[in-house]
Every structure is written in C-alpha cells, then in structure tokens.
Symmetry: C2
Subunit: 352 residues, 2 copies
C-alpha cells in the first residue's frame, strides 16, 4: 500500500529517519558510558519499545503504572516508573507486577516508602526505588541532601525494597532555546547532583544509578557526568518544538492529511486539534514551513500561495510528538512511499 | 461506589448539572422555534446523544464520517456531518450509510456534488446536502450567493441528492468575550444569511433548513432569526473558556485527580497535558480557582497555600471540554458523591 492511499488523518512514522535518530542517540551516549532508558511517553507503543531494546536500550522509562503494565505484559523486563504511585489499589498492582520483572518507582516521602514495603512484603516481591531529587522543576522530589539521606536509609532498611539511586529529571532545561544557557544550567544540575552523591557516599549509601535527562539535554553531557542513564524520548520522532534547538535529530513523525477545500491563497485540511497536541505549539505544514497553521478542532488551515486541490494529501509536523501520539490509536510505519506496518499505540490514554 | 474511590485520572460528569444545562438550552431555543441539533464533538458518546434525543433534540451534528457511523450504528436516525467528505473510500461508505437513516453532509464545490451523486446512485440511497456558506471563519464554504445558487441548483438536479439548505457556522464568534460585540456580529451574520435566502428564494430555490450556531451564540438569537437549527455542543459540559462568557450554563464536566506530592505552598496532582485539551487554556483547580495551574504531561501543579495531603482527591475544570473528552476512553456519570454509571467515549479519536 502506498502512503498516499491511507485514509486520513493518519499518523505516519518514517522508519529510515527513526533508525538514523536511534544511531545518533547511541553515538552521543556510548562514549560517555551512559545507558539509554528511553521514555515510553513519546510513543506509548510496545512495538517501538522492543525496537529500542533491540537497538541497545537497557530498559524503558514510563510515567504511569498503566504504561508499565502494558510494557511488562509485552515482555519488557526492566521498567522504571519515573513518578510517585500513591493510590492504594495501584500500589498493590505495582507490587505484584514486580514479581515478574525489574520494576522501579520513584518516591519522595516516608509514608509512600512504608506503603510500598508493606505491599511488596504481601506480594513477596522486591520493588526497586529511586528517590526523586528536586533539581529545578519545582514539582515532586526532595529538596535537600539531608531529606534524601533519610529516605534512602529507610528504603535500605526495608527488606522488600531495593535502593537504586537518584531520579533527577531537569525537564525545565529541555526546551531552553539557548545552547549556552542549556549547557550552563546542565552543569549546575551536575554540580548539585555531585554534592548530593558526596553526602550519600560519606554516609555509606551506595548510589547505583543516576537517571534522568531528556532529548534536549543529552548533548550537554560531558565526560565525568554523574548520570548513568538517559531518559530521552522525543529523539526518536522529533517535533517542531525540539526542531528549533538544532539537535541533529530528524523529523520521523508526520501527520498525513487530505485537503478538503482550497483556493490559490488557502489550503484547508481534514485534521485539527483533535489529532495534534498543541501544548508546545501548532503543527507546521511540510510544504509551507514559513506560514503558521490556523487550527480548529477538525481543520488545519494555511493561508498562502499554493496549487493544492481537494483530495490532495499533505503532511504536517506535530508541535509536540508526545501529546500528539497520545491522541491516535495507531501508527503507520513507512519506508519511502510505502506503508510497511500498522502498530497500535498500546498505551494511548493510559494515564493511570 | 463513591466518586472519591475512582482511580485517577477520571473524567466525571455531574448528571444533575448536565440536566439543568439541557433544560436551559431548551428554554432558550423553544420560544424562537429553533430545533436543537447538538454537536457530537463535545462528548463523542452515543449514550449522551441518545439522552439528547430523549430530551427533544431533532438529530445530531457531527464533524466526521467515523463519528456518523458510530451514531447511526447506535440507532440515531438523523445525522448531519457538518463538513466536506472528499476521500473516495469515505464517500462510498457515506452513500451506503444513507440507506438506513437521514444522513446529511456539507458541500462547497461542484466536483464533490458529482462524487456524492454517483456514489448515492450506486448505493441506491439519497444523501441530504447542505451547501456551506462562508460567514467569517475563512475556512470552508462558498463566499457569494451566486456561487451558492450554482451549487444548490446542481444538487437539486441530482436525483440521489436532496438540497436541504444552508450550513452557516460562525465559529469565530463563539468565544468573543464582549457580549455586545458577539451580539452585533451575530446580527451581521443574520443579515448576510437573510440576503442569501432572498437570492435563493428569488431564484425559486427552497431553503428547508439553516443550520449552525454554537453555545456562545445561542443567546444572541432573536425572534425572526433565519436559523432553524442550533448546533451547540459545549452547553452540556461547559469549560473554563466558555465559563468566562457568563452564559448561565453550569460546569458539569470535571477531572478527578489524586495529589501525589504536596507541601504547604504546593500541590502536585497525577493528571496533565495527556488528559486535558489546553488549546483554549489550562484547566483550573476547583479548590484554587484564582491560582493558575502549571501543567506538564502527567502533572498539574498549583502553587498556593493549601492543606492537601498525598492521596487526597481533587477536581479540575477543563479549559476546553471538547478536546478534553477526546483524550479519555470513558466518562463516569455521578450524582452527588456517588458514581452511577460508566460510559465509553464511543468516538474518541475518530477523526476520519
């Protein structure tokens, strides 16, 4: 089947570009000795998670228990939920899931550690725990080395928990436009983490892993970085928001759309806000990259000189790949002008 | 089951508020003799479409063929696709669907009329056609009465098509903040449509219906309006964007979320951009209406004095109900503090 024979809207993945992005990420990380634990949130597709493992990823990062369930049931054996799980019914499920794989979760307070220990004891499993360190997001995480030590010691003292190390995600830097500012602030994060690790080591606490980092900060890693794992996700697909940073990855994710109305100064297409995550900006038409799209729920419009006719197929680059994939039930894999596979977005909408 | 026992995130519908919104809409439209053809895009849930029909709606408006299929297969007998359908495979499906119900579609050019006639002749069905008139969206639709007449005559001359009238959706007015500007511009639209109807009537073309209008423009309708059908959708649920207009409808749609981290100046919840459409603004915490939420993919944060504890349940009002519902697989119906039903969002993600 040819790509332009797909009914639209259809979210398509250029496998050749995706594979080049995978190679570039490996080339960035390998010299530094950082393992890749790519973030599932960007594709939510177990088929792609297995492609990442086959290409050398150590395991997968995800945001939610429901994503971890999909990953583990699909056969992924090493999963980190980079988040706190606090609802009692979820903690019970998490503890039993940990029986059949390496499953890690983040914590930032004592009560949650006690809940996890009780559930893991009941299930007879071991839950791996990262303590989340607050390094600029002002979201979850503990803010001082002293608080961190207290929680780490509590995990170490819990027979069914295993202390893994530090969750340190500096998401506030990911889309910082200036390369210099991103580099300098990444250095600040490294220094804060270095200070934390010193306190932990002086207290006799072994840090196995320091996990974090996004597509936007991987290129800032230097020899001697404290990070042992990178949680990048968007490098695989890219989008217009990351495209502005000049990171050297290619667009591999496109929305195929059909022109439904047109005149020499206007193109109206059959895809809109119901198919695009626009939280980091509107999509851009591949054929009209300089002209902003005007979006409504089921239409994308571009107002510029064109030769488009109703029925024509056009492509758009999403503003944000992660929230766009989460709107679509399937991805179409393409090579050149051919559709080579259709895969479900396994965990679409799984935010529990 | 109590509402606060739901795993989160969970999108909940307060049925008492929804029913009051239904009554208010009926009270606005009945004196004007306007029929309600509510827009499916706001709930995408066939169960709610049937509730609307039971409460007096004449039929349902939708945006896409895939939505029309869900509606018709669920038993809705009168459906308007307020959009152009141009892909050949979809036109064939549309023609066969029209065998078992009253199915209407919008057109804005000759070639599309010919495609529809050929497909309906092949299927042995009759497709109802509205010609779309461009009244300020600068999207689809013909711009002059002369072009409109040419298309209307072509439909009338097509044995398997039935000319219904005018599709006139002035979406650009829906969220105009000033009541006066909204009223004046709505009046301009009425005048343009009145002029069009005069031209059509002078040409011997009967206009059965004038369909259009949103939640934001219903209260501007006056005695003598040209509209015969209102396509409002959001009145049922409301959201923060429409809430600013003071339209007299209540919030009936809430996101239930769990606090996962908190301190006296900060509340972090387990729901984010993956569950909220933010194209018309971020959601607002019911308990902290004055403080903007800070959103990330799976978190909502609010920074203000609070007594929240991890594990607490909180509610948020979506910025835009239509794009929020389209992210969720199910709606939980509640009355007071009890969950009374769970219904699938039948057409979630159906944008074809």
């Amino acid at each position: 089947m040819l790509v332009n024979q797909l009914e639209t809207p259809a979210l398509i993945v250029d496998l050749d570009a995706l594979e080049r992005n995978q190679k570039r990420m490996a080339a960035l990380l390998s010299p530094l000795g950082i393992a890749l634990r790519p973030h599932y949130k960007s594709h939510k597709c177990t088929a792609i998670a297995h492609m990442q493992i086959a290409a050398g990823a150590k395991g997968i990062t995800c945001a939610k228990l429901s994503e971890a369930e999909d990953l583990i049931f699909s056969g992924i054996e090493d999963v980190l939920i980079a988040n706190q799980v606090v609802e009692p019914s979820k903690i019970v499920r998490l503890a039993y899931l940990a029986l059949c794989c390496h499953l890690a979760v983040c914590v930032d307070r004592m009560e949650n550690i006690d809940q996890l220990e009780r559930a893991a004891a009941e299930a007879g499993s071991t839950i791996r725990c990262f303590v989340e360190y607050e390094i600029g997001m002002n979201r979850c995480g503990v803010a001082t080395p002293e608080e961190f030590c207290i929680l780490a010691r509590q995990i170490i003292a819990s027979p069914h928990l295993e202390f893994m190390g530090i969750q340190a995600y500096a998401g506030q830097l990911s889309h910082e436009q200036s390369h210099e500012v991103r580099a300098r602030k990444s250095e600040d994060v490294e220094e804060r983490l270095h200070a934390l690790i010193n306190v932990l080591q002086n207290g006799g606490i072994e840090v196995k892993e320091v996990s974090g980092g996004s597509t936007g900060t991987v290129e800032q890693r230097r020899a001697g970085t404290v990070y042992t794992e990178a949680q990048a996700g968007s490098y695989l697909f890219m989008d217009t928001a990351y495209g502005k940073l000049g990171l050297g990855f290619e667009n591999a994710l496109f929305m195929l759309s059909t022109v439904i109305s047109a005149d020499p100064g206007k193109v109206i297409c059959d895809v809109g806000l119901k198919s695009f995550g626009v939280d980091q900006g509107d999509p851009v038409f591949v054929d009209y990259p300089q002209t902003p799209a005007k979006m409504s729920e089921e239409h994308s419009a571009v107002y510029c000189a064109n030769n488009a006719k109703p029925g024509d197929k056009v492509r758009l680059i999403p503003g944000h790949c992660c929230t766009t994939v989460n709107l679509c039930d399937a991805l179409y894999f393409i090579r050149g002008d051919k559709v080579v596979d259709k895969v479900p977005v396994t965990s679409r909408g799984k935010s529990r």
